[in-house]
């Protein structure tokens, strides 16, 4: 799945360094955590309620993906992420595979897919 094009890797590297890493730092400064990473002996339970929506079906039209993503993150009070929605989607046509990838998803990091 990884890019074999050095220029794409360069673009991805730049995006990570210039957009993702600063956003991560800003979120960290604000004390935002997306999940816990270790057990908590004092917690009575680790379950969370499922966030049910009235309609379990969504229409995710590609032309609205950035807008929906931005609204999703803005609704969670995450401006650092909301600001990333459009740049991420602007990046997509350049780094997303032009053809469907026939290779296996890396079994080692499949949570990323």
């Amino acid at each position: 799945m990884s890019s074999t094009d050095p220029s794409l890797d360069g673009e991805l590297h730049a995006f990570f360094a210039q957009r993702l890493a600063p956003a991560a730092e800003a979120l960290r400064q604000r004390g935002v955590r997306f999940f816990e990473t270790a057990p908590d002996a004092a917690a009575p339970s680790y379950y969370v309620d499922h966030a049910a929506t009235p309609d379990p079906f969504a229409e995710l039209e590609p032309g609205r993906f950035a807008e929906l993503l931005k609204a999703h993150w803005a609704g969670q009070q995450l401006p650092e992420l909301a600001e990333l929605a459009e740049p991420l989607m602007a990046l997509a046509p350049r780094v997303g595979p032009k053809q469907e990838d026939a290779g296996d998803v890396s079994p080692f990091i499949y949570v990323m897919f």
């Binding site: 990884s2 969370v48 995710l60 780094v95 469907e100 998803v105």
Partner: protein, 612 residues
């Protein structure tokens, strides 16, 4: 007007399509069976075409296409996971970006382009798809639902309830805390392939002792009394590197991961036993909580962890619920079916129809393509392969049964292909369970796979209790049960294992009067076959019983290691000729190995398939 919905799972692994008309399952199939690429993640164009053909419709007659996963929420999770560890994790970003920024951002358009129609495309949640696949085909009017896998969007485990035509999720455990990921991490560490080797680890577990179970409980996972759990991610690599485990994990278990294909040692056996034990504890606790919060007497299961048939057997024997039903395509392929069923009932309001006799509506999971005798004979005639037509079904069963009774191995293609990872008598390799050498012969000369791996029995449903301590049907080979005590023979596994890491002497020791299907812990992964589900297969086993007194056959998937299960007669013939099977049955046609011409230019066939 009928409501027809196409469900699709794709772009991760095990792509599949399923079609449902008025709430009834018409067809379902995995793409790998057509493309011949194991766990094929690509858009399931062949499977979609097959489903549309089976339903006799054009794409514009579909009421909707439903994708099994909410790609925006998955995108959300991937980005947040990266930001949680940044500036670490860049390596992951470089590897994952082309995928997450690629097709997953324009799935709806991709589907429309593939179908060449402006169809309505809906998205639902990954675990809701699993839950729907578990509940709707089950025989239960109302049931608790438990789904467990690696990860969906955020949920990794959910508890829900199905009632009539509604499915609701109530509670969940979220990424990065996941039973599936924990099991996969151990799978990787023991030298097996993640996403396919989990089954091997489960099969290895009975050879070992759970001496690492306390370490796993103390360091890797905290399971609360209510079954909820959390991992200590300090020991895992999947948040910030490109591998499942890290140095701390290796230190915990005394060294680096086992290299794939290297010798399996006591450490791997004991790790397998340990993670299996902890998984069973977690599944039991989750199920107890599901019973408590739903008040339901029956449980429906799905998600990749539900393919752990050993844990399912423990769950059954503990009687947490009165009845269990497990979706046979419990992994992501089954999400296509769940998505289609969910939309049929909850979007389009199709009333749910139960089976009139109280059985499930999965139709034995025989939901794939079938091939007529005419098609098969045309193929054989065109290719010049010698065959014998035995049109009379009873005579055919007798002939095949005689072959099995003599210790020979049979490739068997009969009826519609199975949906899900198990062969259930439509695309199966069959053997004689009474012979102690069957396991070794089938593993090494036919499947070309590891010698320790056990084979499953298929038993006449009405005879099940005579062989196994199992008082319910197990039509999908998803329950492991003990072989009846009076059939078992003395066998000192500990002494054998301690004396030698080589497993061949162990697996060759008879452990019961059906040795080929009795695992080293006297267990068996049972399939019961009901005549209503597959008359031909049932009658074949009945014929074998008349000859031998044994109503059981060995049943393993019709493929070699790394190959998808065969779909067509052509696939079956190729596999037959590449292995030491003796007889190939293609519906009414019988092909004997010694009469066949050698396959031309086929010396390098093993290079076609990546080892699983």
């Amino acid at each position: 007007m009928a409501v027809t919905v196409l469900g699709i799972s794709a772009f991760y692994h095990d792509s599949a399509a399923a079609i449902v008309r008025d709430g009834q399952i018409v067809a379902a199939a995995q793409e790998e069976r057509f493309s011949r690429k194991k766990h094929d993640p690509r858009f399931p164009r062949h499977a979609v075409n097959y489903c549309l053909e089976e339903a006799f419709i054009e794409p514009d007659e579909l009421d909707a296409v439903v994708f099994y996963d909410h790609s925006l929420l998955t995108f959300d999770r991937v980005i947040k996971s990266l930001l949680s560890v940044a500036p670490r994790g860049e390596e992951q970003w470089l590897k994952a970006a082309p995928s997450v920024l690629g097709v997953k951002t324009y799935i709806a358009d991709y589907i429309r382009d593939a179908l060449k129609r402006d169809v309505k495309v809906l998205f639902t949640e990954h675990h809701l798809s699993h839950a729907a696949s578990a509940f709707y085909p089950s025989p239960f009017a109302m049931a608790a639902i438990l789904t467990m896998d690696g990860v969906g969007e955020w949920a990794t485990t959910t508890i829900g309830i199905g009632d009539g035509q509604a499915v609701r999720l109530l509670k969940e455990i979220r990424y990065p805390h996941s039973l599936g990921l924990l099991y996969s991490a151990l799978t990787y560490y023991c030298g097996f392939k993640v996403n396919s080797g989990e089954y091997k680890l489960m099969g290895l577990a009975p050879y070992g002792a759970p001496r690492y179970a306390d370490t796993i409980r103390r360091q890797l996972i905290d399971i609360k009394p209510d079954g909820s759990f959390r991992l200590n991610t300090d020991y895992f690599g999947y948040l910030d590197t490109n591998v499942m485990t890290n140095e701390r994990f290796c230190e915990l278990f005394g060294g680096p991961p086992r290299k794939p294909e290297s010798r399996i040692t006591r450490r791997e056996m004991d790790l397998a036993a340990s993670i299996q034990k902890v998984t069973e504890e977690a599944v039991l606790a989750l199920a107890r909580h599901a019973r408590q919060i739903t008040g339901c007497r029956d449980l429906a299961l799905a998600g990749g962890v539900a393919l752990n048939c050993v844990a399912n057997g423990v769950l059954l024997r503990e009687r947490v619920f009165d009845r269990l039903w497990i979706q046979p395509a419990a992994g992501d392929a089954g999400g296509s079916l769940g998505a289609a069923l969910l939309a049929s009932h909850m979007k389009f309001g199709v009333p749910r129809k139960m089976h009139p006799a109280g059985r499930d509506t999965q139709q034995g999971s025989y939901l794939g393509p079938a091939y007529s005798s005419g098609e098969i004979r045309a193929f054989l005639d065109r290719s010049g392969y010698p065959y014998e037509v035995v049109a009379d079904a009873a005579a055919r069963s007798e002939s095949i049964a005689r072959t099995l009774a003599s210790g020979k191995v049979v490739g068997y293609l009969s009826g519609r292909m199975e949906f899900g990872p198990r062969s259930l008598g439509s695309r199966s390799i069959l053997g004689n369970p009474l012979r102690a050498d069957t396991q070794t012969v089938m593993n090494l000369k036919i499947k070309f796979r590891e010698s320790f791996r056990p084979f499953a029995p298929t038993v006449l449903a009405e005879r099940c209790g005579e062989y196994f301590e199992l008082d319910v049907e197990s039509p999908y080979m998803l329950l492991v049960a003990p072989v009846r005590k009076e059939r078992c023979l003395p066998f000192d596994l500990a002494a054998l294992v301690n004396s030698n890491d080589d497993m061949l002497p162990i697996v060759s020791q008879p452990r019961s009067d059906i040795p080929a299907v009795t695992h080293v812990d006297y267990s068996a992964r049972v399939q019961t076959v009901h005549r209503d589900d597959h008359a031909g297969f049932h009658d074949l086993i009945a014929a074998f019983e008349r000859l031998t007194g044994c109503g059981v056959v060995v049943n393993t998937s019709f493929n070699v290691r790394g190959e998808p299960i065969v779909c067509t007669p052509q696939d079956a013939y190729r596999c037959f000729m590449r292995t030491e099977m003796d007889l190939l049955v293609l519906e009414g046609c019988l092909l004997w190995k010694e009469q066949q011409p050698k396959l031309a230019d086929d010396q390098k066939w093993k290079e076609e398939y990546e080892l699983d």
